[in-house]
């Protein structure tokens, strides 16, 4: 649910990073946090376990400044990827305006990626949404790891809708902003 305030000329959209456990969702937000000036981003909040695994969600507010006379703000969230935290994932999707699905490129993670994508569609359905009604992009992360699936294999398995997809090494920042730009544009275009 995008919030458009005509009185103060402000837009607020919610972006969710979804995907398997240890796939790099939090790493994406951490890189964005580190790279952007404090005037553009707020404080990052992580509700994580003692071992740094996301327990509930990470939250990072971004202020993109004025876009066509409207102050534009994005709230970035991650979900906990671990299978047992589905109730939390479902909650975070409430009011979502755009989704980045972060897939782990390692070949032995393919089945988990497919299951996570299926799980996301199931959770979206709880809010009456589908991947055709919500702006959605894919990020193939961990391209620097050994034993990864090829780009074509990932596309064939995960990108049946032909949405924008990006190769990334989130820990180094490669592909992180390309992904964020694509979902930001897609979300704003959906409002027009």
């Amino acid at each position: 649910m995008a919030l458009i305030n005509y009185a103060s000329r402000e837009i607020n959209c919610k972006l969710v990073y979804y995907g398997t456990g240890l796939g790099g969702k939090t790493t994406n937000l951490e890189y964005i946090f580190k790279q952007l000036a404090p005037g553009i981003r707020g404080e990052m909040i992580s509700l994580a376990t003692e071992t740094e695994r996301t327990l509930f969600f990470d939250f990072l507010p971004l202020d993109l400044g004025s876009v066509q006379g409207f102050k534009t703000k994005f709230s970035l969230y991650t979900v906990p990827g671990q299978v047992e935290y589905n109730a939390s994932r479902k909650l975070i999707l409430n009011g979502v305006d755009g989704i980045v699905f972060v897939a782990d490129s390692q070949a032995d993670k393919m089945a988990e990626n497919i299951e996570s994508l299926r799980n996301m569609e199931e959770n979206l359905a709880e809010y009456g949404l589908t991947l055709d009604s919500v702006p959605f992009v894919l990020q193939y992360n961990k391209r620097d790891m050994p034993g990864i699936s090829s780009f074509e294999e990932l596309e064939a398995a995960l990108n049946q809708r032909g949405v924008p997809s990006f190769e990334a090494v989130a820990v180094e920042g490669s592909g992180v902003f390309a992904t964020l730009k694509a979902i930001s544009k897609s979300v704003l275009n959906r409002l027009s």
């Binding site: 730009k181 409002l191 027009s192």
Partner: protein, 158 residues
């Protein structure tokens, strides 16, 4: 009620009604601040002493906390908890559902009783729900026509 994938457009008139109701509530209860938060965690409006509060983070965390408690309600056979209270040493939080999914979050000092907050919030809710409901109903599906022109700005930003 918001349709799936719908948006909320806050109009000047509607927001004035919401702000007036929330401002009265601050005055009547002595609360420090009152936030109205959308079901997805977005801050709709804030009244009171908000200048030293990180209202966006408070909205996101309050919404997550309230949402998880509503899910807990389902697990114990309740239809859904409508209110939540957290007591601190100096300040406390009271949260109440507005309509079917939005949230009113009240930050108040401990000199004020929770009963007073609950009573005053319950009194104010019908007017707030009416003002918010009217804006949900009137929100267009394409509320930001100039959006495509934003692409170059985003390209330059990151």
């Amino acid at each position: 009620m918001l349709r799936p994938g719908g948006h909320l457009v806050l109009t000047e008139e509607g927001l004035r009604a919401l702000n007036a109701g929330m401002s009265d509530l601050v005055a009547e209860t002595g609360a420090r601040a009152i936030l109205l938060v959308g079901s997805g965690g977005q801050l709709i409006s804030a009244q009171g002493e908000t200048q030293h509060l990180d209202t966006m983070s408070l909205a996101a965390l309050g919404s997550g906390s309230f949402g998880s408690n509503r899910a807990i309600a389902g697990l114990v056979g309740e239809e859904g908890f409508r209110r939540m209270f957290q007591q601190g040493r100096q300040a406390s939080l009271y949260m109440s559902l507005v309509g079917s999914g939005d949230l009113l979050l009240v930050v108040f000092p401990n000199e004020i009783t929770m009963g007073k907050i609950k009573f005053q919030v319950d009194q104010a809710l019908p007017d707030l729900e009416q003002a918010l409901g009217a804006m949900y109903k009137a929100s267009p599906t394409t509320p930001f026509r100039a959006a495509p022109q934003a692409a170059p700005k985003i390209q330059d930003l990151f």
